[in-house]
């Protein structure tokens, strides 16, 4: 929490000024009824027009000053609140950028999005409101009480009854309402869930004729939403009438007790009137304090979710003087086992193999055989649980992470392009790449043939996620992007599945002839994508079932043979 408060530093001035201006506004507001009482009790009593004029103008001055202070406080509050939110958002985003793959898996994409958007906005709103309401209400209460006691301390004792009664009523109602509102949120979620479900699955609903069935399910949820909402809200709407009842009862009590004092002459008529104004101010302040608590609860839930992110440390750490240069592209797995955090069964068990610089390794196996997990250990996207991975003869844990990942290019299975132009996307691989370099990479990845057909060439638009390209085109673009890193090691995780066999063969050709100095690891479903590799690993349930070249595996590996035979019947792609 202290760490979070430090983020306020940049906007500290505003965070301090806003309450100060607010207090000044409150003072102005408090003085006005008192000045009014002077007009009535002194001005009218002495029939002193100059005095009335003087005090009247003073009142207007106070109101105008109050307004100026109020506006300044609002501005400072907004600056502090949204400045704070911006700092938190920035800090959270930076933190997420430092997350390891394991951290990302834990939080999920959608929850990170909500945290960065909704939660941060809520924090901004609540901070701003807090700076204003949390200061205004108590001070208003305090000053109004002081004024009341100054005017007439015996009369001010009505507050000793009124304040506890009001606070008690508010507390009881909010206390009872809170669980109901939590329940209500659950009901709302249930209704939203079924709507979402039906929107996504409308074809299933319709093709199975389940409209009536769905309407009944919806009706049940909709009914319970209405019932819970009525219960919760019926309780909250008690607040205003009760508050009104208390305000007016207090006014009447003041009239009753004050009345006698006015008759006896110990209280001025004007003082009595100003007293009535103070009563309203005190009660409204109490109301505001209760509202602040509701806001605060909302904000603290968001803050909690942000803190979860900020307090998460990436478990992938660098050593103090890390290696910066990969000597070569050789890779050694030494008795590697891997356990996903939170899982109790090892995903990879006792993996050992070795490949030399410039060699090509193929990996094949069914879904769930942990092919992707294995290769993700190389650029240290995850850390091994047991054993070690060596790249260029050095344990990957001894590298500077940035340097390691710069030299190991990885084309992910679930890959994505970003909105922008093709050129911008290619520059992810190398910020300073020239058009010639980009075109060469595109040619290598067999992507130039379609990119060159666009009138705008490299400036061709890429929609979010690369939705405007076919699967095969997208894969070829992501390969080109990876090649622009001029890596020592290139990992392709099922990256040519949507590319036709002829083009796939051309890509393999390029790797073999033109990019032969790069160590290449290819994960594939299709035997043809890997059959020319120097070595092929058949992975089965997290273990190496067999290892060898195509010819050897056909002889020794039943799984490999099975896959090969099933594909000989004419599989053309995934």
């Amino acid at each position: 929490m202290n760490k979070v408060l430090l983020l306020m530093k940049k906007y500290k001035v505003y965070a301090i000024l806003s309450p100060i201006f607010m207090i000044l506004e409150v003072i102005a507001d408090i003085v006005i009824p008192y000045l009014m009482s002077l007009i009535v009790d002194v001005g009218i009593a002495n029939r002193d027009i100059d005095y009335i004029l003087k005090i009247g103008l003073l009142m207007i001055l106070a109101a105008l000053l109050g307004m100026a202070f109020g506006v300044l406080s609002a501005h400072c509050g907004a600056r502090a609140g949204f400045g704070f939110a911006a700092e938190i958002r920035n800090e959270t985003f930076k933190k997420v950028q430092a997350f390891s793959f394991a951290n990302l898996d834990k939080f999920t994409v959608s929850s990170l999005i909500t945290r960065l958007t909704n939660d941060c906005n809520t924090i901004g709103q609540v901070t701003m409101m807090s700076l204003r309401m949390a200061i205004r209400a108590p001070f208003m209460l305090l000053f109004a009480l002081i004024m009341s006691f100054t005017i007439n301390s015996s009369l001010a004792r009505v507050f000793m009854v009124a304040i506890p009664v009001t606070a008690g009523a508010i507390t009881i109602i909010l206390y009872k309402a809170r669980p109901l509102f939590l329940k209500l949120q659950g009901r709302v979620d249930r209704v939203n869930a079924i709507i979402q479900e039906n929107l996504v699955g409308i074809r299933v609903v319709k093709s199975f004729n389940r409209q009536k069935h769905e309407e009944e399910r919806f009706k049940e949820r909709n009914d319970s939403l209405r019932d819970t909402a009525l219960k919760a809200i019926s309780l909250v709407i008690l607040l205003m009438p009760i508050l009104n009842l208390i305000i007016y009862s207090t006014i009447m009590a003041v009239l009753w007790f004050g009345g006698h004092q006015v008759v006896l002459g110990s209280l001025g008529g004007g003082e009595l009137i100003s007293f009535i104004t103070y009563i309203t101010q005190v009660m409204i302040s109490l109301m505001m304090i209760s509202m602040f608590f509701m806001q605060f609860l909302r904000g603290s839930a968001s803050m909690q979710r942000i803190l979860e992110v900020l307090n998460t440390e990436s478990e992938i750490k660098e050593i103090s003087e890390p290696e910066k240069e990969l000597k070569d592209g050789s890779i050694i797995f030494e008795n590697v086992s891997f356990l996903y955090p939170g899982s109790n069964e090892k995903t990879l068990r006792n993996i050992s193999f070795k490949i030399e610089t410039g060699e090509t390794l193929g990996i094949i196996g069914s879904t769930g055989s942990s092919k992707s997990t294995l290769v993700q250990l190389i650029p240290r996207l995850y850390d091994v649980t047991e054993g070690a991975v060596y790249v260029g003869g050095v344990d990957v844990r001894n590298f500077d992470i940035k340097a390691l990942r710069d030299q190991v290019a990885f084309v992910l299975q679930k890959n994505t392009l970003f909105s922008g132009t093709i050129r911008e996307n290619m520059k992810w691989g190398n910020e300073n790449a020239t058009d010639e370099e980009i075109i060469r990479a595109l040619k290598h990845a067999q992507a130039w043939e379609f990119v060159s057909k666009y009138e705008d060439g490299l400036d061709h638009r890429v929609e979010q996620g690369g939705e405007n390209f076919s699967g095969g085109q997208k894969q070829r673009l992501t390969i080109a992007r990876a090649l622009l890193k001029s890596p020592k090691i290139l990992i392709l995780d099922d990256s040519t599945s949507a590319v036709d066999m002829a083009t796939d063969a051309k890509i393999q050709e390029v790797f073999k002839n033109e990019l032969s100095e790069i160590t290449t690891i290819i994960i594939a479903q299709r035997i043809s994508s890997i059959q020319h590799a120097d070595r092929i690993i058949v992975l089965h349930e997290g273990k190496i079932e067999s290892l060898g070249d195509h010819e050897t595996l056909l002889k020794i590996s039943p799984i490999y043979r099975e896959i090969y035979e099933s594909q000989q019947k004419g599989v053309i792609g995934e």
Partner: protein, 608 residues
């Protein structure tokens, strides 16, 4: 309309019409509506009354003490106070009930309507957009009905009532109040316009920011792999700074209203005390009158601020209601089919075909489908299918092969009448499908899609979705047939395991097996498999295909597949290109043709 512009549209196009339609919902709860308004009126009148009592009470103390009068006035004030509280509570209770009931009805109507809308509606409206109408628009409507209506009413009565009382008390002071109120209105307008403008630009930067966050978070793993973190942070910081500036601006104007209005009302307070005092000295006003007047100035300025706030919400609510009604006004799927599916004494299904002479012809349900010169386009003028002719005899397997967009899925969408054909005819057992009742037509078909959709509920519930009255035994049978039983029996609660978030706890392959079991339990005459095995690897596919083969036995089956191994044994394979069948025949025929199919099979070309 995209998400961005939706948020910006806060003004209704035709407020009166929408309002009228909204009011028509109150007819179901007329008593609530009338009594709600009645009690709110009582409460606001009582408030004016209670404030009015201050004047005689104070005068009975200050001007000349009269204990009897003092007590009597105090007592009357007490009654007013009780009326305020009771009226406010009962009035609000009525309005809240009215709002909840109305919104409940609207939600139910919307959902029921949604279920009846044609598929084409969902093609042209994004989920986000519909979700937002269902949630945000309904929400804000609810809020306005709960508070807006009563507050506007309360404010109006308070303003008018207070105004009348003021004129009675002192026309001169009233003039001061009117002048000041005019200043306040102008201020509200000025700030309101600024605030709306800033709010819009804030919404735009917010949308930009959210879009960026969504994109980067979705591709976060790519960011890591490319060491793109620092560049992402730079991009993000720029947007974040824009957002901070625009939010600060918008919030400043938004929050400014309160201190400005509050203090303007204090200026009024000061003017009234000052001018009132002069009037007292001239004996044209009593001290008690000033007290009442001051209380009035407080009560009159609050509703004005409140209403100005409420109006924005009310307008947004009307704009929302307009979108809701727009959904409700969408035309539903038409179904004029008079041919019904019926069961004879032996439990065999037949089509009951009404004849022109009033009699009926019984046509047995077999599963024979034929297309005659069928053309179709989702959008007018853009034909997706052109002159399709084909037939499937009962029990045959027909496959469609071709690139994305060639029209494969469209053909199956026409068979179950998700869309209506533009030209030509489709016959089902010799009957024009447009004559067949849609419910009955679809009840004879099952469809397995590539993107499996599971519902919240147990595994058994999800399989039973195919036929609601299936027994536990039948559910299990279907699961076994689809090869799903083997993984279900390993689930923690077996068939009673609850699937959450669209079956997120199952693998893609397992989800697909469930959807096949679901199709199996429906026992359809016609089966449509749309890329059902595309997202699983070849080994898992082998497992599924065993179940699939059993499922297809004796049913007319339409298969769409990317992977040619799954279509090899079809009775007929149709190769589609740009809405036309360019090759047809069985595997042997097409291979010997050495055309497109041959090229696909030998891997010479890529399917996109």
């Amino acid at each position: 309309m995209n998400k961005k512009s939706r948020h910006l549209q806060l003004k209704p196009k035709n407020p009166m019409k929408t309002l009228k339609r909204l009011f028509s919902y109150f007819r179901f709860n007329r008593i609530l509506f009338i009594s709600g308004i009645l009690f709110i009126i009582i409460s606001s009148l009582a408030q004016i009354g209670a404030n009015a009592m201050l004047s005689p009470i104070i005068d009975s103390l200050v001007v000349g003490f009269n204990k009897g009068l003092f007590i009597r006035y105090l007592f009357i004030m007490g009654i007013f106070v009780i009326l305020i509280a009771v009226g406010q509570y009962v009035g609000n209770l009525c309005m809240v009930r009215l709002a909840q009931k109305t919104v409940h009805r609207i939600r139910e109507e919307m959902f029921a309507h949604m279920e009846k809308l044609p598929i084409s509606f969902f093609d042209t409206h994004s989920h986000g957009e519909l979700m937002s109408t269902f949630t945000n628009d309904v929400d804000i409507l609810n809020q306005s009905l709960e508070q807006g209506v009563s507050q506007v009413l309360l404010s109006a009565i308070t303003v008018v009532g207070t105004f009348i009382m003021m004129i009675i008390l002192s026309p001169i002071l009233t003039l001061v109040v009117v002048a000041m109120l005019a200043v306040m209105m102008v201020t509200i307008r000025y700030i309101g316009q600024r605030s709306a403008k800033n709010f819009r630009s804030q919404q735009a930067t917010l949308a930009d920011m959210n879009g960026y966050i969504e994109e980067i978070m979705s591709g976060q793993k790519v960011v890591k792999v490319f060491n793109y973190e620092n560049r992402a942070i730079d991009d993000f910081s720029k947007r974040n700074e824009d957002l901070r500036k625009s939010s600060t601006q918008a919030a400043t104007y938004g929050v400014m209203l309160m201190p400005v209005m509050g203090n303007l009302s204090f200026v009024l307070y000061a003017l009234v005390s000052m001018i009132g005092s002069f009037l007292v000295m001239k004996n044209r006003l009593s001290v008690g009158n000033i007290a009442t007047f001051l209380q009035y100035t407080r009560t009159i300025s609050r509703p004005i601020t409140m209403v100005s706030n409420q109006f924005n919400t009310l307008f947004a609510a009307l704009a929302g209601a307009e979108r809701i009604f727009n959904v409700l006004d969408q035309e539903i799927e038409v179904d004029q089919g008079d041919v019904r599916l019926e069961k004879d004494g032996e439990g065999k299904y037949y089509w009951n075909l009404p004849k022109e002479d009033g009699g009926f012809e019984k046509v047995p349900l077999k599963g024979h489908i034929s297309f005659e010169d069928v053309s179709f386009g989702y959008v007018e003028g853009q034909k997706v299918l052109k002159g399709i002719n084909l037939y499937a005899k009962p029990g045959q397997k027909i496959a469609f092969v071709g690139s994305t967009g060639a029209g494969k899925t469209t053909i199956t969408n026409l068979i179950n009448r998700f869309y209506e054909i533009n030209e030509g005819n489709i016959y089902y057992d010799g009957i024009d499908i447009r004559r067949i009742n849609k419910y009955d037509l679809r009840s004879t078909m099952s469809i397995v899609l590539q993107d499996v959709h599971l519902f919240e509920g147990t595994v058994a519930d999800n399989i039973r979705y195919g036929r609601l009255d299936a027994t536990d035994e039948e559910v299990k049978e279907a699961a076994k047939l689809a090869n799903a039983h083997y993984f279900i029996k390993n689930l923690p609660q077996v068939y009673d395991t609850i699937l959450t978030g669209d079956g997120g706890n199952l693998s893609q392959g397992e989800r697909q097996l469930l959807s096949i079991a679901r199709a199996a339990v429906a026992n359809p005459t016609i089966l449509i498999l749309d890329e059902a095995t595309s997202s699983v690897d070849t080994r898992t596919e082998k497992l599924i295909s065993k179940g699939m083969d059993k499922l297809m036995e004796g049913r007319t089956t339409f298969v769409i597949a990317h992977r040619l191994s799954t279509v090899r044994d079809s009775n007929a394979i149709m190769v589609l290109e740009q809405g036309e069948i360019i090759e047809r025949g069985d595997h042997e025929d097409l291979m010997s043709l050495k055309g497109r199919y041959y090229a696909l099979n030998t891997g010479a070309i890529e399917l996109q």
